[in-house]
Each structure stands twice: as C-alpha cells, then as structure tokens.
C-alpha cells in the first residue's frame, strides 16, 4: 500500500516535471521577442537590450529553465511583465477566487450528479432514467457560454436575484464575491454534472449486472443493502476518475464562464495573460493547473484505493 502510494506520487512528480518542461518550451515558442513586446512602441535598442538582460533572455534556455524551476519550488514565479507584481502572489489571488467557484461547483455537481446517476442506473430504461439521461445529454450539448448567458438573462436581468457580473477586482473579499459565485458555479455545474451523471449511470448499470451483485441478490438481501453495500463501491470506482478529470477541467474550463461574468478568477487571468503575452504568468498558471490535475488524479487514485481493497493490499496496480 505504501509502495503503491509512493509509486503514484513518483509518477505524479514525473508528470509535473515533464509538464513544466513542455510549458516552458511552448511558451518560449510564442512568437515575437518578449522584450520588444513589453516595451511596445517605445522600444529603443538600448532599452530592449537592458530588458533582455533583466529577463535573462540572453542566457541559454536550459539555464533559464532551471532558474525558473528553482524559483517555482520556492514559490517565486518571477514578476509579471504587465503589472510588475510578483506572479506567485498575483496568481494565487486569482486562484483563490476561482477555488471559491470550484468548491461550490464541485460540491453541488458531484453530490447531485452521483445521486442522479445512481437513480438513472437503478431505474434503467424507465422514466426517471429517460428524464435524467435526456437532461444530461442536453447539458453536455450546450456550450458553457450559452448556459451562462441564459442564466444571466433569467436570474440577473429578468429577475434581479444575482449580480450579472462581478464588479470587484482580484483582491475582493469572500464576502464581496459570495453573492456572485452562484451563477457561474451553476453554469459550470450543469456542464460538469452531465458527464458525471452519465458515467455514474453506466457504471451502476454495469455493476448491477455483475455476478457479485446477482449473488448478493440471490442471498436474499434487500435492494437497499445490495445497492449500498455491494454495488456502490464498485460503481464509484470509474466515476471517481471522471470526477477527478472534471475537477481538473475546472481549472481551465472556468475561462469562458469567468469571462461572461467578469469574475476575477484564474480563467480570466489566463485569457488576459495570453493576450498580453505575460509569459511568467502563463507559465505559472500552466504549472499550477498541472499541479491541480496531478493532485486530482492522485486523489482519485487514493479514493480508488479506499474503494478497492485490491489496490490497498497489493503492491502492484495491475
């Protein structure tokens, strides 16, 4: 068990390392000289040279990479080319705001969709299943920006229950943001839940058809007991990974929704830093998203371990 965790963590670290290299290389590939970019129309050759030196652009890429990684390990992601502030603190501010949305989204989407998915799976081919499946199909088929726009129209403009946009900056307090997180969270939850519902449904159906559930039934157990004790752990296993992927997707998927709601979150920062070629910020966001992805997957693995004794008691994954 310990070795299983150790291996997973090692793999996760490897992934992170590779991601960081990829991100660094990709960002280097962005066209245009950064220094000229930053200085804009005022760029004199002297100023460009000075800035190049300041940004250490004149040094070989691998040196810059190691510097960057060393800094990142100490929480120092450099300074933003646009605002001149420390990237680390800036990104974490935006990230915190997004985390608020993510938390609410995950809470609602995950619990709700698991319950719905299980219901659909148990009532397979009957009306609750048809209803849930149809709704989730539509949820999957409508892009986030449409859901978000419709929500604004309904619940901000027509019925002024929630703010249509966030008027605060990234340093807003939780209290200021709280009224504004519900609509974005709902928009994200609709899209995210659709996938989890469908996954939960299929795996419940699969597990309910398995021999061990049949055996449990033939033991004369009640349906409730069969479902909760025998079927659920098995059904949750594949669902767990879908949930993890969806949570990781949130890290990037918020971009569109945050844009619609002017929400000062990581997605919005991502858009604007790509547009402004704010390389240190892009790198930091990519790296942090990679961390989120890796952590989510690791969490899913650990969850799988809790649900699946085979993983807990054996050293090997397969």
């Amino acid at each position: 068990m310990v070795s299983f965790i150790a291996r997973r963590v090692a793999a996760a670290l490897g992934t992170l390392f590779l991601s960081s290299v990829l991100v660094f290389l990709a960002v280097q590939a962005l066209p245009g000289d950064v220094a000229t970019q930053v200085l804009g129309k005022d760029a004199t050759p002297d100023a460009v040279a000075a800035l190049r030196e300041k940004l250490s652009l004149d040094r070989p890429a691998w040196e810059r990479y190691t510097d960057w990684v060393r800094g990142a390990l100490h929480g120092d992601f450099g300074t933003s080319l646009v605002s001149g502030k420390a990237v680390g603190s800036e990104v974490s501010m935006y990230l915190g705001n997004s985390a608020l949305i993510a938390l609410i989204t995950v809470l609602f989407a995950v619990t709700g969709s698991i319950v719905l998915g299980i219901l659909a799976g148990l009532y397979r081919d009957r009306w609750p299943d048809h209803l849930i499946s149809t709704v989730s199909l539509v949820g999957m088929s409508v892009p986030e920006f449409v859901v978000a726009t419709v929500l604004v129209l309904c619940f901000s403009v027509a019925l002024p229950w929630f703010p249509a946009v966030v008027l605060y900056g990234p340093d807003a307090s939780v209290g200021q943001l709280l009224p504004a997180v519900w609509l974005p969270a709902l928009a994200l939850a609709v899209v995210m839940a659709a996938y989890i519902v469908r996954m939960a449904r299929t795996s419940v159906i699969d597990v309910m058809a398995s021999e061990y559930v049949t055996t449990a039934r033939l033991k004369g157990l009640s349906t409730w007991r069969v479902v909760t004790r025998h079927a659920l752990p098995g059904a949750m296993l594949p669902t767990l990974h879908v949930i993890a992927l969806n949570v990781a997707w949130l890290a990037g998927g918020v971009a569109v929704v945050e844009n619609v709601f002017n929400y000062p979150g990581i997605g919005k920062l991502m858009l604007s830093s790509v547009q402004n070629r704010d390389l240190p910020v892009i790198q930091a966001i990519a790296l942090i998203s990679a961390v989120v992805y890796v952590v989510c997957n690791l969490a899913a693995d650990l969850g799988a371990m809790a649900l699946n004794p085979k993983l807990r008691t054996r050293g090997r994954t397969r």
């Binding site: 992934t15 992170l16 990709a26 960002v27 986030e144 726009t149 699969d206 990781a248 858009l271």
Partner: protein
C-alpha cells in the same frame, strides 16, 4: 467429421455482407439512427445552403437591421441587416468543416500512436504515457489559446491546436482498446510468424478497434464542435463576417432581448448538432458494445 459438431446457421459473410451487418447492428440502436440522421441533416444543410436561402450570409443591409422574424426574413436579421437564417444555414460549413477536419486529424493520429504504444509496449509505451500525461495536465483551453496566439487564428491553426489538445486523450482511449486486442492469440500468431509491427497493426489490431475509433470520432467531434464554438465566442476562432455559430452568439447575445432569434437560432443549430453527435456516439457504443464514457474521459 461428425456428429455433435453443430455449426451455427449463419450465412457466409463477404466484405459487403460485413458492412451490411455493421449497418444492421447500427440500425438496431434508435439513438444511433436518430443521431446520425441529425448529423446528416446538418451536413446536407451545410452543403445545400446556397439552394436553401437566397440571402448572402455576409451582405450588410443597413435598412433591414434588427428585424424580428417575418415573411422576408424567417428568423429575422442581425444588427448588420444580415439574414439570420442564411447565416445559420451557412454557419454549419465552418463548424462542420473545421470540426470534421480537426477530428479526423486528431483521431487518425491518436489511433496510430495509441495502437503503436499498445503493440510496442515497453519503454516506448512508458515514455509516451508520461509525455501524454504531461500534455494532458496542461488545461486544454490554455494550450489552445497559446497555439492560436502563437500562430494566429485561421482554420488550419485551429485544426492543429485541437490536435495538440485532443490527441493525447484519443491515444489513451485507443491504447486502452488496443491493449485488449494485443494479447489475443491471433496477434500472438502474427508475431510468431514474425510480421512487422505496422502489418500487425493494420491487419490484426485496427480492424478490431474500428468500433472504438468510430465512437471516439463521434464523441470527439461533439467536443470539438463545442470547443471551436467556445473559441469563436472568445474571439479566437472564425473572423467576422464568417457565418459561424459561436461568433453569432457572441455578436448577438447582448441584443438577445431585442432579436432573440439572432442568438437562439445559432444556439439551436449548435446544440442539435452536438446532441446528434452525442446520440450517435451513444448509440454506436451501445450497438457495438464500446463503453464510451469510461474510455472517453
């Protein structure tokens, strides 16, 4: 030969018969039929758009701006006086064209790489897995934005960007499917004959994962359509005045209370196409016994 060896009474199957059988299985799934029909209608509309409407989707006509639905303009006009219906009809061309191209490239590449990984195994598979995982760890929208920013917008760039983002996921799915095939004895037999990797891949593995690949195609296509529309919506996709659904929503959503059809029509078009693709993927996977969500996520 004797007695109890009872052969099933199946008719001999030739290649066309095999196709017919695939079609029969497919037809047995209502979802797949409906889904493919919806997609087919979309394709038809896109191809026949010039015959279906006499309006030019990009001609400005200031004297007929922001009209509600009426006899001349069934779905009204937008703020440039362009016929909304014409734009929606033509809009499928961009959405379908780019999505199909992007999906084809993505799935083809992913399939070859995924099969090769499964077949080769060993360090090749390990290293590839690590690299793909690392790519997956970067949010797709960020990767897309970076590619598009680096190379500029345009259909070719978007196809490339989508390939970058989705190939790893396709590789995963296809590799998973191929891994189920690779240990099969007929692959072993081919290996024992000493056949080359490529020939094993083409003759033994690929035919057995075509169903997975087809389902993957349909599902990927639905994601790609959504992604492309999101890109257009964010201003990274089609350039105006291209008739494109995502762009139309972005252009008209502020005016949704005045000319609702200008936003609703492209949304409906987009949603039905994606529903069609999703239904097709669902139906195909059910008919062919591919568990799509599990593999697709």
């Amino acid at each position: 030969m004797t007695t109890l060896d009872t052969a099933p009474p199946a008719p001999p199957a030739t290649a066309p018969a095999r196709a017919a059988r695939a079609w029969r299985t497919l037809r047995s799934s209502r979802a797949a039929v409906i889904g493919l029909a919806i997609v087919g209608v979309h394709v038809l509309i896109a191809v026949l758009a010039p015959l279906l409407t006499s309006y030019d989707p990009i001609a400005n006509d200031s004297s007929h701006a922001l009209l509600g639905p009426g006899w001349d303009h069934w779905a009204g006009t937008d703020q440039y006086g362009r016929d909304v219906l014409a734009r929606v009809l033509y809009g499928g061309r961009y959405a379908l064209g780019v999505s199909v191209a992007a999906t084809l490239v993505t799935v083809a590449l992913g399939t070859v790489v995924g099969c090769a990984a499964a077949l080769r195994g060993g360090w090749f598979d390990d290293v590839l897995g690590r690299v793909l995982d690392a790519v997956l760890a970067v949010p797709s929208i960020l990767a897309l934005l970076v590619v598009v920013t680096a190379l500029g917008t345009g259909p070719a760039v978007i196809v490339l960007a989508i390939a970058v983002v989705y190939v790893p996921q396709v590789v995963r799915v296809v590799r998973g499917a191929a891994l189920a095939v690779v240990p099969a004895d007929y692959v072993t037999a081919a290996r024992a004959r000493g056949e080359s990797t490529w020939s094993i891949l083409r003759r033994e593995v690929l035919p057995n994962i075509t169903d997975v690949v087809c389902v993957e195609f349909a599902m990927r296509a639905s994601w790609v359509v959504l992604l492309i529309s999101s890109l257009s919506f964010l201003g990274f996709g089609a350039d105006p005045p291209t008739p494109d659904w995502g762009l139309m929503v972005a252009e008209n959503r502020t005016a949704i209370t005045v000319v609702p059809m200008a936003s609703l029509a492209p949304i409906i078009a987009l949603a039905t196409l994606v529903v069609g693709l999703n239904l097709a993927a669902d139906g195909l996977s059910k008919a062919w016994g591919v568990d799509r969500i599990r593999e697709g996520s």
